[in-house]
Symmetry: D2
């Protein structure tokens, strides 16, 4: 991958916020997945094509620190960065902002598997410089 | 199907309610799907087994009237009833209650398709009396 | 409202599709809500401001016909149109497309209420020509 | 709190699983929230009453390790345990099982805040022995 860092912006949808008025903490992981999907697309690839080719990406570990709450209708900005790559795994780092304010930071570790769930090497083109 | 009417109870989860404090209207259709899944199970069948056998159920039409809002942590009671069955479709009717209060009523029309999305006859055992 | 028809485009996210590979039928109502939110914004207003001002919009009736399934990563196009307005309600019509293919059409009837859930007149500025 | 450990069982719903056939990783955090809600209820309390009383609980940090995938229609068993309590925070530990198989383990750190988002002491009755 030539591009190892990418930014997207998006607006918080109504049902993504909970009765407390804040975006539910589980929802952030959906945003992070959008971030790495678009980072992949910026390199000319797509998860949909990967799955059609029999390469599935599963989440092995996910962690997030929530600094400030996001709210309904907020415009958010998410920076996604490749943090670490091994033979069978890839880890991204995420920083979520509302304007200049850091709302959350996270790391998600992915592993490549085949249709039966057996570990597979990360495709060459997913690697930095690949 | 020997059983054509079935009732489930369940509690509203936190992220199912929105910043207005009410269960989001889209969420009701998830509840209705739970209702018909458990009606099917009460007849000794499961959608998971159906899908494994290559029979998929798609929603063709869905409509709901919302009378009173449901709230976070409410215990709800859903009655599901088979309304109409044709060669390739099955329609259920739903009534959602909080205690004796009717919150919503709905109809959802399903069609059976194969893995390629082509219409298929409703399996015999899904029919009333089947 | 000067603008009574509006179009948005967006991409289907991974968890919006279900194990059958199709976007879950409940999810369409989230898309429709995005459509009417952006129609309102095109008129210079926002639901967030309305709620801050004590005007809440609740869904009274929702119906959708599903013609063709949407899939993960599809780019979709949603046309939202004001269909009917009365003293206390507003109904929109929705057409969802993938390129030129009509995937679904829907109507959602909204009612304006105050913080206690009592019906309120539709704010003047929400009316066509308002 | 007299009870510091609690177990719930529940069935995976259809839209909680994604096109890969597995429960989406974000969904686990909704399950964990159900676990701590029921642990609180086992002690005679509810988050809904807390919120009505002006005490809100926000997630400060969440992490999960995913060992084996959960699938649609699986019956799952979640053990929730109070791990650590400080003046203003409470951390739970979660173990998610399908029968005897450990699917995931997680920790979520909560902080008590008031309606304006300012930190508040954990209510006495939330403390072990409280």
């Amino acid at each position: 991958m030539a591009v190892t860092e990418h930014e997207i912006t998006f607006r918080v949808r109504y049902p993504e916020a909970d009765p407390g008025g804040y975006v539910h903490h589980s929802q952030y992981f959906v945003y992070f997945e959008m971030g790495r999907t678009e980072l992949l697309r910026a390199n000319g690839h797509s998860y949909r094509d990967m799955e059609a080719a029999g390469v599935f990406v599963v989440v092995v570990r996910a962690e997030c620190r929530y600094h400030r709450p996001a709210r309904y209708d907020d415009m958010l900005r998410l920076r996604t960065r490749v943090l670490r790559v091994t033979a069978a795994s890839i880890e991204h780092e995420y920083h979520l902002y509302r304007e200049q304010e850091l709302l959350a930071e996270a790391r998600v570790l992915l592993c490549c598997v085949d249709r039966q769930g057996r570990p597979q090497r990360v495709p060459k083109w997913m690697l930095p410089g690949g």
